[in-house]
């Protein structure tokens, strides 16, 4: 029931909104939200804040560009049915590798290590021309055709992103109810105790990172199609921090808050030009992030829940008085 309140308007919106709103606001929010979901998932259930999620999205984005049509003449074109799972698999493998490297690190140590991995990947894409085409990356990364139109047109891409977002949220909710997902949460709470049950801790950590790679990768592929390009700018410090900011705004411990955070972020991005000088967007977003961290460390979604709770309490009290 709760989901329908969100879902029905989401399905109807394309019929009332302009293409600009649909593509630049909603679709973009969904895509950023999916990538941020992969971070919130790790933060909530594994207790690790990973700064490498934009890189995982980038791995899948680069893969879909390398194995598909692009206009830079690099790569091996593969049929859609092969390259899609391959790109997701590569993102999962990349996630598993990061999980393996960071397996013994928690808290701020994990932040430092994943950030170092993310930025190292960024520098690597800039220097490597064989796989990543260096600084400029890939352009002309088009989604497959949809009849005589393209999946990249505003409405199809919106519905595709919405569908992927729903699948990702459902996957997260399913995963955390699975034995492996429970083990991931047990690692978060008391790794030593899990070992004492005879359950290894390394495997759940790696699995959680691989799973986050699958989600981030799904977002990364959509992002490559949305932008029709993928380059070192897609995996730089900017996107790394953007994803973090989105998760923090939505609440790091609220996976679905990622979508709330994404909408707030995108709207700020678009309307900053009216609020202040376009060039000062970073100043604005920095102040917003600081304000959230100081005033609402659990994110906007938790803030809203608290407010609604307080209002209900008051509403419940009034008649009694």
């Amino acid at each position: 029931m709760r989901y329908l309140i969100v879902l029905i308007p989401a399905l109807l919106l394309p019929f009332v909104l302009t293409d600009f709103w649909l593509a630049q606001v909603l679709t973009r929010s969904l895509i950023l939200g999916i990538i941020a979901l992969s971070l919130s998932f790790l933060a909530t259930y594994l207790g690790v804040v990973s700064f490498a999620q934009a890189s995982l999205a980038g791995v899948a984005g680069y893969a879909i560009a390398y194995f598909g049509p692009n206009t830079v003449g690099i790569g091996v074109p593969l049929p859609f049915i092969v390259k899609l799972p391959l790109a997701l698999l590569l993102a999962m493998i990349a996630g598993a590798l990061i999980g393996f490297v960071a397996r013994r690190s928690r808290g701020i140590y994990a932040i430092m290590i994943t950030l170092a991995i993310g930025v190292a990947f960024f520098y690597f894409t800039r220097q490597n021309y064989v796989l990543f085409n260096g600084f400029t990356g890939f352009s002309g990364v088009l989604p497959p055709a949809l009849g005589d139109r393209s999946w990249g047109d505003p409405r199809p891409l919106y519905y595709l992103s919405l569908g992927v977002a729903i699948i990702c949220v459902a996957m997260v909710q399913g995963f955390v109810r699975s034995p492996l997902g429970l083990a991931v949460q047990a690692v978060r709470d008391a790794p030593g105790r899990l070992l004492a049950l005879g359950i290894p801790t390394t495997f759940p950590i790696i699995a959680a990172f691989a799973f986050s790679g699958l989600i981030a990768g799904s977002g990364g592929i959509l992002n490559a199609w949305f932008q029709e390009r993928v380059s070192s700018f897609s995996v730089g410090f900017g996107p790394i921090i953007d994803i973090l900011i989105i998760s923090v705004i939505g609440g790091l411990r609220h996976p679905t808050g990622a979508f709330v955070g994404a909408i707030v972020y995108v709207i700020l991005d678009i309307f900053a030009i009216d609020l202040i000088d376009r060039d000062r967007f970073n100043l604005l977003i920095g102040i917003v992030l600081l304000a959230i961290v100081v005033a609402a460390p659990n994110g906007l979604q938790q803030l809203a829940i608290d407010w609604v709770g307080a209002l209900r309490k008051r509403a419940a009290k009034t008649p009694a008085n």
């Binding site: 490297v101 932040i111 430092m112 290590i113 064989v130 100043l283 920095g286 992030l289 100081v294």
Partner: protein, 288 residues
């Protein structure tokens, strides 16, 4: 062979800069468990202030001093104004310091623009110097940089190992709560440590602007290098920062000279190998 010597010297130059940048970062992390993500921004801020002062007065040394002082002041302000309120909540501090670094970076872009600056060095630092044993010439400013890093390293080590306040900081690294219980003004010490970390960063910024150059992005470059240096060398140890800086600086330059495509990967591989063998870093204490 000449190439090898030059590359080695370049590596040592970079290592010296990395050490100057990372030592402040490591000090703050070691005492306070705060990952100061604004460290790179403080470094760049120091660099810009140093450039402005040196440009206006023509006095390079004054520029270094002003850059260090400006960044120290900014660092103390960050601790007093924001991070001090969240002491103990490490994740929140990290996120807040990221916000501060974004804000600072944009303010600096506003004030100093997107151009690349090089701090003009005085005559005694300019030009090259012939190193007879190696049979090559090398920029004086870079040789002095290495000497300076060495001096700072030794001074920092003496300060931490041999002085009273150093002993308090060292005890703080191991046991914050005990120190607070013993009645030490730990909050004031925290501000002092932040100011010191900022000063090291600020001076490193001016010196980076003299030996190389500074521009938007320099902040990120040095933040990353500090992270890697500290991860490799070990958290909160001066010797660890020095060893980490040496390894990463040299590896980066050798990589750039002999395997340019994979230079970024070399650093990364070193980090992964160290983490696999010693998660606490080469000279770090194991996590409690």
């Amino acid at each position: 062979m000449t190439l090898f010597f030059v590359v080695t010297l370049n590596g040592l130059t970079l290592a010296a800069l990395y050490f100057l940048a990372a030592s402040g970062f490591s000090l703050i992390f070691g005492l306070m468990r705060t990952v100061n993500m604004a460290h790179g921004a403080l470094l760049l801020l120091g660099g810009y202030i140093g450039w402005s002062v040196a440009d206006a007065t023509g006095l390079w040394a004054l520029g270094v001093f002003a850059g260090g002082l400006g960044a120290a002041f900014a660092g103390a302000l960050v601790q007093i104004g924001v991070l001090g309120w969240m002491q103990g909540d490490e994740l929140r501090q990290t996120l807040a310091s990221i916000a501060i670094s974004i804000i600072l970076a944009d303010l600096m872009l506003w004030i100093w623009g997107g151009t690349t600056y090089q701090v003009r060095t005085p005559d005694w630092l300019s030009g090259g110097m012939r190193i007879e044993i190696l049979g090559i010439g090398y920029a004086k400013v870079r040789l002095y940089l290495m000497a300076f890093a060495l001096v700072v390293g030794v001074a920092l080590w003496l300060f931490i190992q041999k002085t009273r306040i150093g002993a308090v900081i060292r005890a703080g690294v191991d046991d914050q709560d005990m120190l607070r219980a013993l009645g030490y003004p730990i909050n004031r010490i925290f501000v002092l440590v932040f100011a010191m970390g900022g000063m090291l960063a600020g001076m490193a910024g001016v010196i980076a602007g003299s030996a190389l150059s500074i521009a938007p992005g320099t902040d990120l470059q040095f933040l990353l290098s500090s992270l890697v240096v500290v991860i490799v060398g070990g958290m909160g140890s001066v010797g660890g920062a020095a060893l980490g800086a040496l390894l990463i600086g040299l590896a980066e330059q050798y990589g750039l000279a002999y395997a340019p495509t994979y230079a970024a990967v070399v650093t990364f591989v070193i980090m992964v190998v160290v983490l696999a063998v010693r998660p606490q870093g080469l000279l770090g204490q194991a996590e409690a």
